[in-house]
Symmetry: C2
Subunit: 331 residues, 2 copies
């Protein structure tokens, strides 16, 4: 294992420390936790707080999206491990100013359980909490850590949409309705070129041959649905857009947002080339693309690969929400 | 070689295409070139244009920093290869609106020669052009492609400072004076954990043993000054800050900006841990840190490693310029 760290057992604590010291105007750590909240938290007074989080190792997710117009707080678990209910509860208490708190949970059994427990703890203190479980990864049903489908990079579109609504003063019920409306519109699928190495494990979670890729891998290295020889970018696009089409059943004139997300070790150059092929393919299918984003936004440590998220924009409101101005360190 | 590409000979063209299609509101391609300019170019009317560029493979540098408050245009060469004088000249013509154009050149022999030729071409058409050659890498004197010291990630601080001045309407002479004042204040040094693979070459430019690092490597894989076994983050910091101290000779109460830049394949988690150690070390030396930035900003394809840039802030103006609001896809 070749990593710039000190002690594998202490990576999250030191990472959070580095993060809040690098961006003190954006992020403040909740003492005694690995949760961070908006330094300008006073600005959300009277508004719904949006809280997300999950295992670490997906940086800049989630802390990089804390700020005006997106998340109010992010809870960082140990690497690839759900944060504890008490830390999630601390984040909920920190961002509640009476209007309640909405939780965006990625669909992993540990996250769902711990966020639900934190919600129960909040209920007992009369803090109104609602939530959504994002399960955008269409690759497989059930997985190593998941019942149903996994929650992956499409979750960022959920953060973006709900964050704008909260910033504009939407109520907790309105945010819940928006989340439920948006959820079936967001779908993601990935391809991996290499596995990720968790510091405390010291070796990759899976290995691929020099010329091999795996379709449908999850952001913790969970198995996908097929291994084969490395293809050209446009052939990868053919496969992944094909899978998404099976879900969405594209119709002439449909409008979509597209996110090409790097898994950590893949250079931006490759992500732009891949996006170019995605846009070519979608154009050939007469799908209209109104919003595009490319970058290493929900990573899997040092995994190489990309994920492709499509978000069906079935109202102008959704596009406006994607274009809504935010102030975070990573969006 | 495991890359998401189509044809190794065509990666830059397809990358630029993907880039401008992903961010049409920010970037427009100059027809027939691999140069991009601000889509809102009308906004710089009467102001000095700032142009930078160089070999591709360093994304998001330089195109990612084109936008209000930073660069007016960026010229993308082939991978690790200087852009041609005619393409640089096209960018100069595109962004000149009478106030002249300032070129920010990283110190590589090919870049210096080609940007100077483009300047001569502009002179012949009576476009006022001035320039600065950034040579912030303190690791070695002279290198594979360089006379003197190499230009690396500290160049981004130059873009940031000059971009804000241009946005505020500074004259070409004022921008030149500012560039010359800032140049000796910016110094960088890197450590690599692995080499980068140029698509047309197909194998890494250098290789390191599983437990080996190299100090002082350049952004094209140029040799550094020492190889040794992988150290802990805080020991890497000890070495790199020590080298920077030999240059700056830190004095109690000095103010600095700090950039921790990932080389491409290094996860943000490690960069934040490294930054945490840098801030600890600088605090122990009684150096004041007023500005911090962490991210994969000037990469070297899929190289693993980080660079550390210090920028001595010897006036309040420089800090204000770093904090000046910009609108780009990557700052």
């Amino acid at each position: 294992m070749k990593k710039i760290i000190n002690d594998p057992a202490n990576v999250v604590d030191e990472m959070v420390q580095g993060l809040v010291r690098s961006y003190p105007d954006y992020l403040t750590r909740i003492d005694g936790t690995e949760a961070v909240y908006r330094t300008d938290i006073a600005k959300i007074k009277g508004k719904v707080g949006i809280v997300s989080g999950g295992g670490s190792g997906h940086e800049p997710t989630h802390a990089g999206f804390v700020g005006q117009g997106m998340l109010s707080a992010a809870v960082c678990g140990e690497v690839f491990t759900s944060p504890t209910p008490d830390q999630i509860f601390e984040a909920i208490k920190k961002v509640d100013s009476g209007a309640g708190v909405f939780l965006v949970i990625k669909n992993y059994s540990g996250d769902v359980m711990n966020f639900e427990m934190a919600k129960d703890m909040a209920d007992m203190e009369n803090i109104k909490v609602k939530s959504i479980v994002v399960d955008d990864d269409i690759a497989v049903e059930n997985s190593t850590y998941t019942q149903g489908r996994r929650g992956v990079a499409g979750t960022l579109f959920m953060h973006k949409v709900l964050g704008s609504a909260a910033d504009q003063g939407a109520s907790l019920d309105e945010i819940e309705a928006l989340a439920q409306k948006v959820l079936p519109n967001i779908k993601t699928i990935a391809v991996a070129l290499s596995g990720a190495t968790v510091p405390e494990v010291g070796k990759p979670g899976f290995t691929l041959a020099d010329d091999e890729i795996e379709y449908g891998v999850g952001i913790h290295g969970e198995p996908g649905y097929r291994r084969e020889k490395l293809q050209k970018s446009k052939d990868l696009v053919e496969e992944l857009v094909g899978k998404l089409n099976e879900e969405f059943k594209f119709a002439d004139g449909d409008h979509y947002a597209v996110l090409v997300n790097g898994m950590g070790a893949t250079p931006l150059m490759e992500e732009y080339i891949f996006m170019n092929d995605v846009l070519n393919k979608l154009a050939s299918l007469k799908v209209k693309v109104d919003f595009t984003k490319v970058g290493n936004l929900m990573t899997s440590l040092d995994m190489a690969g990309v994920s492709l998220t499509l978000f069906k924009l079935d109202s102008d409101e959704l596009l406006d929400r994607l274009n809504y101005k935010v102030d975070t360190i990573a969006w």
